[in-house]
Symmetry: D2
């Protein structure tokens, strides 16, 4: 009996060409596994396509809700943003995919997992670290790094290779942006983006929405509620997180929200330039933060910001299934106990403009904040506070003056 | 001979009323000192007003360039932002004012400094920590905290008090937003803002610009250059930093950029809600970061972000004249060595949209970033990298599996 | 009916004198509450003494186990050490005491809590922040800061005051070190320690043990086990944490372990110099860390160190009952999942010398670590790892060389 | 003309065998370069040995003072310690060696550098990252990773290989600890240390000193001075840093100071167990910190600790020649401005016991620290300080109580 390999399969040209290649070079039985994280692609006919290409089986696994609840929500709660801009859309999806691939491999008794990520990107790391952490015994095959036996250099050559192996499918040979899409975002790389001096060609580029210039002239108000840091309703209607993100994507896309143009540092050591569209995600993170402003105290807010940055690094590097990610998540969850309330904002041509926030656990006190003296605040206390708060500066100034005098 | 006190004087009702109050309650000779950080107020006639109010002297000190070069630039380079939103406009100005007050006090042989900051805010701390650090021997008088002898409770009472002391000036008794303005920003507190559930009344509120809705329908392109992290030119014209900020304020204000609505945590322990307009500053910080993306390596970028957050805390707390601020600034300056280049972006209805970045020290390499294999990058290296990068995860998974088996 | 105040009572002169003072100045009914954290003092006769002094009731509350389980263990797990040396003995005890005082106040329907901490120390903050967090409505009375009505300046005057109020107890007027003791440690301040240039007079000072010079010439081996980061047994005998600490105190004290001489920075803004004896605690923290070396991965270890430092700050500042402390503790607890195993070490004249560590969850692999190549490690991987790990440095060097050439 | 390779040469068996191997496999002209960081080996006769082995030239470069001034001092000032224990002895030396190898390569017009570090350790990374950063064009040869052509598996085989190539030198075939020594430390790995459950065999192991048990029964007092964080004199005698470390090594070694037994996490992903002797370094770092306690303020101390940890990571990972290391060093240097003064301590059987510290810039104030009220401190200030310091906790408690009531 042949050994089995589970292939992360998208139905596209690259992963389709891998099927005959795996059989030819390793004599594997190929199990395809297409994992739906909300990439919005046509999955109809995928089974025929996989089998026609020589796969013995195709799994289609929808992990959208798991993606939202187990990966997105913790990152939103943490405020995890990589290098000030990137909302981790691809990074958060990869470990969930790796987990599902391992599950299928176990079910099938496969001995290897194969993915189509390139040898220069972050995704190979994220897939493989996920697999190593969950199934250290499984072999990993990354064709694009096996330049000795993976000799195809272009889409034309891949199409030709497929044809030679009896796969005659209507693939498009034309070169486009390199993209990754899921429920949370779509990323774009390549073409004119490869020169950071060049403005992105947004009209060709954008998939999930429009530029601020093309957005409606009328703003649109939105309300959202959260319970313990988890989004619960949108415009008064309770929904699953995945439904909220879906709706926010429509709203954000329509109003030109969440387009980011970034030069980022990859884990493998080089800078790359990309454009991300994260319409719903941008709104969700902003809305969550809007609520946190009201309910988190200063010290927690500050340290949580560091933890969010740290989580962004960890997730970006593909280290989801690690004790450090778990510990950071435990920290963050602890802070979400009272992140419950309603936020209101309006969307207008790329802007998310706050329009009021309320929470039963708000730490804001109007009487405390205003200039009049209330019961809780004695202005004289500020004298003492400042005297002790500034004592180290004062003592230092006196001591140094004395030291300089003695010289 | 009477002891002298230096009063931080704005020409407004509050600080004018302090003049007779200081004379009455302490028998001081009052030296007024009006420090121009770009608040854009009418300074004509200030001298007459001060003297009419009983001051023996008025200093008008323009520290705009010092404010820009010594306070703003280090914070821009650090990317210092308080609680994700606040660009520290007031916080950065206070130490410069304190320094000047101390200089005047020394020149005049004064024994005390008086300021009109309230007893609930951050500014009292910033003024006083500055003074304590620079002149620990000087007495500090904060009338608004001296509720036993400062008995005026309203603008009406202050006007009445002034009249009783022979000061008949055309002050307005009406209540408005509480504001602080300088070249970098204007802050607004009070009125409807005191309820975080309420949307700001931007039409009444805004001073430096318009809302995105009211901004022009045409975007406007801007180019800027930096040398070692210092802004050098705007749209091809070399200018002083203060001139660049002035121009950027006009551009940003026109295009609805830099309006922030925030509930923030004050040092004195309560939350407050305010709106900040920082049109030029928002652009400047974004432009600087746009360039840093190209020239900073990943590790530096990450640690610098933590340092920027730390600096924001330090500056917000009024601890400018401290060894910690100096050390953080030394760190940041070291990272700016190669932050030289040109950024281009367009302004459109509240958005700052990147439109190309170049630097002689760019670490971006098109051949490295693109999918093809170049001389610098061997795809096989990724195998080894991932194997070792993921080794701890793999070993852990194997060890834990073994431990669980042994149970 | 009189209002009630709960007084944190030790039976010593200071807190005894407070009893008549509270009655005289506030007309309170005084409920004394003596909280046993393992200070090892004679509690017999305390009830008579309290009543003789005018208290209407005395509670003696033993919180030793709670102190160990809820306060000490989390700090040990975190590796929380203040300013590199101080193991937080007093800091960890204060919140537990505050909590108990509040419980008694609630039970008694008291409206105020009184403590005898000085106005220059950290303990006033720790007590009062604990009370504010748990019972914000309770009034706090700190006699030593009420210099207008607390006029006693010396032990002689306190004894005299007691006598005048009919309290004739055998108090000692002589001046000694200022000390705080509990199960975890004893601190010493005052006398010759007030000059950091002077060597401590250890012969007079030490209470819990001896100096290394006076320790036995024979080393003593100790073994300990931990489960999920909690100490479980000592020398093969299972014990409660409080018993383990008690035994370790004897061992550490005997062998001169855990004596620290430090100049530390107090929260209230000045430096103070003290000597701490933490014989058992020093061993416990070292043993815990010895085990963590074997089971924590590198990334977790590094971030946990930062969290431990952060927790030390938070606890030192008296901010135990805060969301930040809870979140940090959640982080730390998450890391302790596999901190299970046995450590062996020997004690010898101030030294804790490792003598072997084992854990079922050890991440150490002899075959991996040794120089021979095993299945898990391919030396060629190091080529790829180093090439990518060093790629940013190499690219930077090339880019800067190019830039300099172009100048 | 043959291409030249510069070989990092120690005179030992491993690097000697590399000489003929390089000639045989690459047809290089081999330039040996022996870099003296204070490893204390016999350098006499090295030239003959190198030439006899087939090298065309031998450089002997003494970089001891550079090692001390440019690498050790910044790390001491930073308090850089890896994983709580390791004083970075090997890590700090590698970049200095790499720098010198590059200098020799440039001088000789060599095209490659060869080192004898193993494929499982950290040193290969440190050497190669140094070379990549300083000379990105140079080829790097690491024979021990070239398992296809470097086929020797044991010392016996290396000796045999040498003999076959006409090198008949008195090498010892016996297996011992794997060691790295320089002026700062010596590391030991291998043999019984490979099992963390086993106590080190210190009698065989130790090179630079004795165990605490074998140290003298008499303590020895030492005084040191620092200027701006740089050690200046020892026991009253001004010396170069290298001389101070040399003397401290003797003192520390004699008194059993600075022996560390650690399981550490290597960069390449596995744990390893080693013993370090750092007698002088341990004293130097402790003495420096003893002085810092007196002169650094609390906020600086805390952030500097984080920076020290960060530097330890950076240096351990071989990233010396990076902008991040430079920036951290700039931070640290800024904090050292006033780290000037004298420390006194005594050494006794593994202990460094403080015996007094003085500094003209001491921030310690006896009058402030003591319990009496001085001019600088008004006990009433503590009321205000605590009230505002605790305000967030109090407000939170009240708000949450209210919210719970409303439920």
């Amino acid at each position: 009996m042949k050994e089995k390999v589970v292939l992360a399969y998208s139905g596209g040209l690259d992963t389709t060409a891998i099927i005959p290649w795996l059989k030819e070079n390793f004599d594997y039985e190929v199990i395809c596994c297409c994992i739906d994280c909300g990439q919005g692609e046509e999955l109809d006919g995928l089974e025929e396509r996989a089998k026609l290409s020589g796969a013995s089986k195709l799994y289609i696994e929808n992990i959208i809700d798991e993606f939202c609840d187990d990966y997105i929500v913790p990152c939103v709660q943490a405020g995890a943003v990589y290098e000030n801009k990137y909302l981790l859309g691809t990074s958060m999806a990869r470990p969930g995919i790796a987990k599902k691939l391992v599950e299928v491999a176990r079910k099938e008794g496969a001995t290897a997992i194969c993915h189509g990520a390139t040898g220069k990107g972050n995704d190979q790391i994220r897939f493989e670290l996920g697999i190593k952490a969950l199934a250290p015994d499984l072999k990993i095959i990354a064709p694009w790094r096996m330049t000795d036996i993976w000799t195809m250099q272009s889409r034309e050559e891949e199409i030709e290779y497929c044809k030679q192996h009896g796969i005659d499918l209507p693939f498009d040979a034309s070169h486009s942006y390199s993209r990754d899409r899921n429920l949370w975002h779509i990323s774009h790389e390549g073409l004119e983006l490869e020169d950071p001096a060049v403005e992105p060609n947004y009209d060709d580029l954008l998939v999930l929405g429009v530029t601020p210039e093309k957005a409606p002239d009328e703003p649109e108000y939105v309300t959202m509620t959260f319970e313990k840091g988890v989004p619960k309703s949108l415009n008064g209607k309770e929904m699953k997180v995945s439904e909220i993100i879906t709706e926010l994507n429509k709203l954000g896309g329509k109003h030109g929200v969440g387009i980011v143009d970034i030069v980022e540092n990859r884990v493998v050591g080089m800078k790359s330039r990309g454009v991300y569209e994260t319409p719903g995600g941008t709104i969700l993170m902003e809305a969550h933060q809007q609520l946190e402003e009201l309910v988190l105290d200063r010290a927690t807010y500050e340290v949580k910001k560091d933890m969010g940055n740290k989580l962004a690094q960890v997730v970006y590097e593909g280290k989801w299934f690690t004790p450090l990610r778990e510990a950071i998540q435990a920290f963050v969850e602890s802070t979400q106990e009272y992140v419950t309330g309603e936020v209101k904002f309006k969307l207008y041509k790329g802007n998310i403009i706050k329009a009021g926030t309320t929470s039963p656990y708000s730490l804001y006190s109007e009487s405390l904040a205003s200039f009049t003296t209330g019961e809780l605040y004695d202005h004289h206390d500020a004298d003492g506070f400042i005297n002790l708060f500034g004592l180290p500066l004062k003592v230092r100034a006196m001591k140094l003056a004395e030291a300089n005098k003695n010289k």
